[in-house]
């Protein structure tokens, strides 16, 4: 077992690739069995990450660190580790992936092998992003996660998929390549080191910090997406296949907020002081704008997509409140949003499979014909609009509590987003589920067992976090403390056990 325990993180990151083996072995024409095998294999990363969750100490420092030199000549290493922020996102990723594979059981008929191939690559890319402590490694995974998503949208997407997929790639690339330049600058500033700790320990002049923060911030803001960089998101979401939407909303967008929490804020405290209010304003604009635009949508998927803009605005607002409640709430809300929005996309996808339409106007009175489905939908919806008793409430409440201390006026405006969310969601639900059953919706089949299995774990977690969030917050809070201390005092980071004083010295520098 030691081989697993000592390299647990590496196993998590690369075990999704085990699923590639059956893709090459299975003859074409046996798609059902292939899906079954890949689904079973996708439980392996989940198992590993549950193990990780259970044995995570919660000291606030990076745990499960591993370091192997990688690009000699330039001091880049394969260096990974987890803390409270990344732990939960890793678990969320490995949790959602088997569900995605199960949910799209009947959805994908064309080129099943390719579909599974890109999903597994995507999972490895995302897991790598959340565990990398070496900035170059982070960048490699960050970009590597982009390409599978591009193909998922482009091959299995809707009518406008080509436009949506290339827009998605170009938006992301603009941000990330500028970030690469900033990373290179930091590398030389930190004395030839890509290690997170060496960069976080830097004291840079204020103007430099602002420029670098802008480069990092642009990449992350596009990914989140923050207003006004959000226009790629509705296109991508509407065109993406159900599984793609779930992963996109559930974890891919979190790469942006995670990037702020892990890199942009700890690296550039001066810049955060200068530009933090601006980002808070943008996030509040995003909250209100996303909510207002959601209200007028006629397409259910687009509605959920715009609601993501609104919800992730809350996360960014919480991060830039820079106090314990706000940051912990933001981290928790990343998970919550992954569950509730992921769940909503699953549900919309199931409806689309049955009726081949996502337009709100085509539905009506589904509560009568699909009682089980409607119940599940309402639970996800309540979580999404942060009803007490669901996970969404805990997250948004903590965020608002935190941000009120730093930005009282902005928080007041942001609160309206909560009300708007209730309006657009309930109004949509009213039109789709309540009222008289229209003839076309009379004979829709209710949830199948398979679909129930997909939704049940999400619903359990929604209530579990809603009533007893402690099991997650206990993991988050120590990291939040370290995060806030680092930010305010710029103290030296606890040296990594593997490398001692960082990797700047020694080795084969030029």
């Amino acid at each position: 077992m030691d081989i697993f325990r000592d390299h647990l993180l590496t196993w998590i990151i690369f075990s999704p690739l085990l699923g590639l083996v059956p893709l090459f072995l299975f003859p074409s024409g046996r798609e059902k069995q292939l899906k079954g095998v890949v689904l079973a294999l996708s439980l392996i990363p989940l198992g590993f990450s549950l193990w990780l969750f259970a044995s995570f100490q919660g000291t606030g420092a990076y745990e499960f660190q591993e370091m192997v030199p990688w690009m000699r000549g330039y001091q880049a290493a394969y260096q990974v580790g987890v803390d409270g922020f990344s732990l939960l996102l890793i678990c969320l990723t490995t949790f959602l992936l088997p569900l995605v594979l199960l949910a799209t059981w009947n959805d994908v008929h064309r080129n099943v092998k390719g579909y599974l191939f890109f999903f597994l690559l995507l999972e490895t890319g995302i897991l790598g992003v959340f565990s990398a402590l070496d900035l170059l490694l982070f960048y490699v995974f960050w970009e590597a996660a982009l390409i599978p998503m591009y193909f998922l949208i482009g091959i299995w997407g809707g009518e406008e998929r080509i436009y949506a997929s290339i827009k998605f790639v170009l938006y992301t690339m603009v941000g990330s390549l500028l970030m690469l330049v900033a990373i290179l600058y930091l590398y030389f500033a930190a004395g030839h080191s890509f290690y997170w700790g060496d960069m976080a320990a830097l004291h840079l002049p204020r103007m430099t910090q602002i420029v670098l923060f802008a480069a990092f911030g642009l990449a992350f803001a596009i990914k989140v997406p923050l207003f006004p960089f959000h226009t790629w998101l509705p296109d991508a979401h509407v065109q993406a296949p159900t599984g793609g939407s779930v992963i996109l909303a559930g974890v891919l967008l979190k790469m942006g907020t995670y990037g702020f929490a892990r890199f942009a804020i700890p690296f550039f405290p001066e810049a955060v002081r200068a530009l933090g209010p601006l980002l808070a304003v943008l996030s509040v604009i995003g909250i209100v704008y996303g909510a207002l635009v959601s209200m007028v949508q006629v397409d259910m998927k687009k509605l959920v997509a715009y609601s993501s803009v609104s919800h992730l605005g809350f996360v960014v607002l919480g991060l830039f409140s820079l106090n314990a409640q706000g940051v912990s709430g933001a981290t928790l809300q990343m998970i919550n949003h992954g569950l509730s929005t992921g769940g909503l996309f699953f549900l919309v996808g199931m409806l689309y499979e049955r009726r081949h339409t996502k337009l709100i106007a085509d539905f009506g009175g589904l509560a009568t014909s699909m009682p089980l489905y409607s119940t599940c939908f309402f639970i996800m919806l309540f979580s999404s609009i942060a009803l007490p008793g669901t996970n969404g409430f805990i997250g948004e409440f903590l965020i608002l509590l935190g941000s009120y201390q730093t930005h009282p006026i902005l928080t007041t405006v942001a609160t309206s987003g909560v009300i708007f969310a209730a309006i657009y969601m309930l109004w949509m639900a009213q039109r789709v589920f309540l009222g008289k059953v229209t003839p076309k919706n009379q004979n829709i089949a209710d949830l199948s067992l398979r679909e129930g299995v997909v939704l049940l774990p999400i619903i359990v977690l929604i209530f579990w976090i809603g009533f007893a969030p402690g099991f997650l917050l206990d993991k988050i809070n120590p990291t939040t403390e370290v995060f806030l201390k680092t930010k305010t005092e710029k103290i030296s980071i606890p040296p990594s056990p593997v490398t001692g004083e960082g990797r700047g010295e020694g080795g084969d520098t030029n």
Binding site: W70, M71, R72, G73, Y74, N111, G114, L136, Y139, V140, F141, E143, A144, L146, I147, Y150, F151, G154, I155, R161, I162, S165, I166, V169, L170, M173, V174, L177, L178, L180, V181, L184, Y185, Y187, F188, D508, N510
Partner: protein, 494 residues
């Protein structure tokens, strides 16, 4: 001239054996075709491949043990041998690529192979040239072979047109080069690189400064033409389009590498002179080359023209590295190593991409429109996947050699403090994503067209697979190759 008589001929033969062997092979091929009327492409190919593998191994051994040595006309250091390795790999892959084309086009294989070999000898002369005249000779040998190869598509008017264009414009560029060399001779009284390198202009010799600046300007024009830098790039799309595809691959990879070698030697030899505004000139040249190459490529619907403009853009990225390497006169090994690394990376991905284009051709009819690639992923998943990887690599997406190469170049530019140029370069990379993804969109997102896919030959598949494997492997583990490239530029001599 006395020194020539002191030459240790045994040592010289030992050091220059690759060149001698290649030239000998080429001539024997021509003799074979004269005495044996029947063409035997398969046997020739087999013998050549074995011979080139042997030469490749020998060159690598030389790279490992060489003690830098210059004997006025030729020089031997790790830099020149590393470039030799790049062009030999290029030659190997190109020979594999053209096996099918040779049998289809009705050209005698021995002639084509011999011309490739002579071109490579010319390239090696450029790498090893210690004298401007030798470099010029190398460029001419290389270029003349390329002119003929360009026109070797029998009966195809476009191929003749391309050859003519290439020949006329290329000769014009050679004149510039020669004039530049003459002016340099006027300043130093010698054409050797060593004399240029030891040159220091006193403040009062303003006449010499003018002469030397003009000489450098002429040299840059001539070499700028060979590397297809903007504004001397206009020949590239037409020639790339008209030439047989394997020849295009050879020009894009090998000719560009050799021309860059010449540029690097000359720039590095004269880089210490403060009178010449190196940095602004190279800065503008690289900015123009990247930007215009990428912008024009956006509008292309012909795969070979698209790759031609992309090769112009890549010359721009390489020039970013050259500019950065020249900064503050203490040559950065890492940056210059990055340039060598990128030359290899660029050659591999270009050869791979053209290899797929060759594979798409059918019974002499070439398939070159982007729309012909529609739905390739369903008809031939391997070719589609390979071309996708090569295009992603050119776009600089991680886990490919193209990313590693760009990383080394841009890191060097950031280290030298060229932030503006680096930002321009990364924005160019974003632009390039748009057109590199156009064939991918066709192959994966659009339904197949009624184009019958040709049967694939094994040498062709082997070449594409070789490129694919190297692009991915060195993309994930680039450090060994990079350390080798950095080692190559540590002890440069002139």
């Amino acid at each position: 001239m006395e020194k020539l008589f002191n030459t240790d001929w045994n040592l010289l033969l030992q050091l220059a054996l690759p060149m001698v062997l290649l030239a000998g092979l080429g001539m024997s091929l021509l003799l074979c075709s004269a005495f044996f009327p029947r063409d035997r492409p398969k046997i020739f190919l087999g013998v050549l491949l074995l011979a080139i593998l042997g030469i490749l191994f020998y060159t690598w051994m030389q790279w490992r043990v060489v003690v830098p040595l210059s004997q006025e006309m030729l020089l031997f250091d790790r830099f020149s041998y590393s470039l030799d390795l790049i062009v030999l790999v290029t030659l190997l892959i190109v020979l594999l690529l053209c096996s099918k084309y040779v049998s289809a086009e009705g050209t005698r294989s021995s002639e084509v192979y011999a011309l490739f070999l002579f071109a490579v000898v010319g390239m090696m002369l450029i790498h090893h040239g210690a004298d401007l005249i030798v470099i010029f000779l190398g460029i001419e040998i290389m270029s003349l072979s390329s002119y003929i190869l360009t026109g070797s598509r029998r009966g195809i008017i476009r191929s003749y047109e391309a050859a003519m264009k290439y020949f006329i414009l290329g000769s014009f560029a050679s004149c510039f080069l020669l004039y530049g060399i003459a002016l340099a001779y006027g300043v130093t009284g010698s054409t050797s690189l060593a004399s240029l390198q030891s040159l220091s202009l006193a403040a009062d010799t303003s006449g010499n400064t003018v002469l030397l600046t003009m000489s450098v300007a002429f040299l840059l024009v001539g070499l700028g033409f060979k590397i297809a830098a903007v504004p001397f790039h206009l020949w590239a799309p037409d020639v790339y389009e008209g030439a047989p595809t394997p020849v295009t691959a050879f020009m894009a990879a090998g000719v560009k590498t050799a021309a860059f070698a010449a540029l690097l030697r000359i720039v590095l030899a004269l880089g210490h002179l403060p009178q010449i505004p190196w940095i602004p000139v190279l800065w503008i040249l690289s900015a123009l080359t990247m930007t215009i190459g990428n912008l024009v490529a956006l509008r292309q619907t012909h795969i070979k023209r698209l790759l031609a403009y992309s090769s112009v853009a890549h010359a721009g990225y390489l020039l970013v590295g050259v500019t950065a390497a020249l900064q503050n006169n203490t040559l950065s090994d890492a940056t210059l190593g990055g340039v060598v690394f990128y030359l290899f990376a660029y050659s591999l991905m270009t050869l791979g991409a053209f290899g797929v284009v060759v594979a798409m051709g059918h019974r002499g009819e070439q398939v070159e429109e982007l729309s012909d690639f529609s739905g390739l992923s369903q008809r031939h998943p391997f070719l589609a996947a390979a071309l996708t990887v090569f295009l992603l690599s050119m776009a600089g997406i991680p886990a490919t050699i193209g990313f590693a190469g760009k990383f080394y170049l841009f890191a060097g530019a950031v280290e030298a403090g060229f932030y503006g140029l680096t930002i321009l370069a990364v924005l160019n990379s974003v632009i390039s994503v748009y057109y590199y993804f156009a064939p991918i969109i066709k192959m994966y997102f659009q339904p197949p067209r009624g184009y019958e896919l040709p049967p694939l030959s094994y040498p062709l598949l082997a070449a594409v697979f070789l490129c694919l494997f190297t692009v991915l492997y060195l993309g994930i583990f680039p450090s060994d190759l990079f350390l080798m490239a950095r080692e190559s530029v540590k002890e440069l001599i002139f």
